[in-house]
Symmetry: C2
Subunit: 338 residues, 2 copies
């Protein structure tokens, strides 16, 4: 690999001192505009690279916003990113994205990488094992806007954007009860993640409201991976009291369950009613179409983008622990409704 | 926003000249190791940020690899990124990702942003309107490895990783013909994108091989967006000679077509046979399950990651215009087979 261009190469090419080059690139007041322009032109020509130099020399802005998400493998997350991208692009910012793969250690590395690449702001949806937040300290110390979305933590001066997962879980569960279900099963994702544990809380509240006792057997924790389907089907078949309603924490996993249950001659919704979560495209395409909760990913992204741009422009100063909650929506289709 | 720390702040805090700080951070041989360590410690303490300083001072490496993809909204693309991420992480590199949203102008900006953030290598899947490649010139000039995948262009010294879309299109089409279809329709994506135009070439070749004349009416170009479904269904219903086989360029769109055709009382596969493309999870979940072409996204990502790491380590020196082609696979399910 070629050695990258340094300020010494620039100085040599221009016949000035390295200090002059450095001060020019840092827009120091001791350097004339004419010299600054010469240095910048030469730096551009030779491909000198430094984030400070990137776009806006006078304000030291990179016009780049960083995002850390757990994984890029869901429609929800791609919707969130599309919403962020649209909003920040319109304001003249570019987006760079990294994934933590649900590991705090990798999230730390991402936070450092994005800091070093000079982002003007950071948006984060946390990994599920993240339990300390020191890796965001640099951002806070340097007043670089930091916003959490969906999987959040409350830090001073950082706003959060969420939906009310507990209320959504409550509504999905109450819908099953209102359709006549007597013995419900909540098929949850990993309960270390706040979104899943909060949906389970809503599930429990709905049972309590309708005088149905919550037993441990009413919840099955899974990784929501297709490989978990046989375990779920066995679990359902082996319950003494027949399960007649499923609240499944993801539409894709619910679609897999529908397919497997049909193969076992369960009739949906007659024998067992099923509601999913997210309103992914698949929920409309399975047979029968799946009732679900609309989880507004794109709107969440737009709002996150708007918040961050407002903070960068100074037009909005979100207060510490300010939290924005988006509206979710129950969508009833044939999987719960005869 | 606070002003970021400059080398002048560091110089003041350390009681040395700015030149000494700059040379220390650039690992200049004129500076003692002891001084370099003092400068680095102080730079860390105050949060001085420059990409060169990021991880590996002696080699000027950032240990970061950049990726530009058209969009993050497909299972295929998230599989590709998962494969890249795994491979480069294991080699000690971090990944940052940006999306061009299918626009060359944004791709240019992404290439610049990632260059400025100091990536050690760049992986690109091109936007469909990209028709000049000057925005990659900096990478080539500075011997920063540049690899194209899936949507590719041949540049000197840049390797490409693809599947044989033409052959895959041929096999999908020949499968329909062998199942007895007499009047086929290819529902394509935007034909400016090489992947779609190549699949159409394969479609035409299969027709020619089986003495079936290709007419303009055998292909319908769409954006593969759910909103295009009514147009497609009308088109199918209004053909004089009944269409009995569909080759659809995406599984999700094929699933939407299945749903709409069933509503119009077409029997699948009896009246009309359908094959998709990609082997997305949805292909297994629709009724009837969808025949498709397995397009190995994860493997493509792993291979791209391995190529780039090998180039960075100097253990593999890919020759100009070297191209790696992955194996695809025809998967037969009930949508084409009674």
């Amino acid at each position: 690999m070629d050695k990258k261009i340094t300020i010494y190469d620039l100085a040599k090419a221009l016949g000035v001192s390295a200090g002059t080059v450095s001060r020019s690139l840092n827009n120091h007041r001791s350097i004339s505009d004419k010299t600054k322009q010469r240095v910048i032109a030469k730096a551009n020509e030779l491909g000198y690279q430094t984030n400070k130099f990137a776009v806006n020399l006078s304000t030291q802005k990179s016009n780049t916003i960083g995002v850390i998400v757990p994984k890029l493998n869901s429609i929800f997350m791609s919707d969130v990113l599309a919403g962020i991208e649209k909003t920040v692009n319109e304001a003249g910012y570019n987006l760079i994205i990294s994934q933590s793969l649900e590991m705090m250690e990798k999230e730390k590395l991402n936070a450092k990488t994005l800091y070093n690449s000079g982002v003007d702001a950071l948006l984060v949806s946390l990994a599920y094992d993240t339990n300390d937040f020191d890796h965001f300290a640099y951002y806070i110390r340097h007043n670089i806007p930091l916003i959490f979305l969906d999987r959040v933590h409350n830090l001073p001066n950082c706003s959060t954007i969420i939906i009310n997962n507990k209320q959504a879980g409550f509504e999905a569960t109450e819908h099953l009860i209102e359709q006549g279900c007597k013995n419900l099963l909540c098929i949850s994702g990993n309960l270390k993640r706040n979104v899943y544990s909060e949906r389970l809380m809503g599930f429990k509240e709905a049972l309590a409201k309708h005088q149905m006792k919550f037993k441990k057997s009413n919840c099955l924790e899974t990784e929501l991976d297709p490989n978990d389907v046989p375990k779920v089907i066995n679990y359902i078949k082996n319950q003494k009291q027949a399960i007649d309603g499923l609240f499944v924490a993801s539409d894709t996993f619910a679609a897999h369950c529908i397919k497997a249950l049909k193969k076992e001659h369960f009739r949906i919704p007659e024998d067992i009613k099923i509601i999913g979560f997210n309103n992914d495209p698949i929920s409309e395409l399975v047979t029968p179409p799946l009732s679900t909760i609309n989880y507004p990913g794109y709107e969440m992204g737009v709002l996150a983008g708007q918040s961050v741009i407002s903070q960068l422009n100074g037009s909005l100063d979100l207060q510490p622990a300010n939290s924005i909650t988006l509206r979710h929506q129950l969508i009833i289709r044939e999987s719960t409704h005869i």
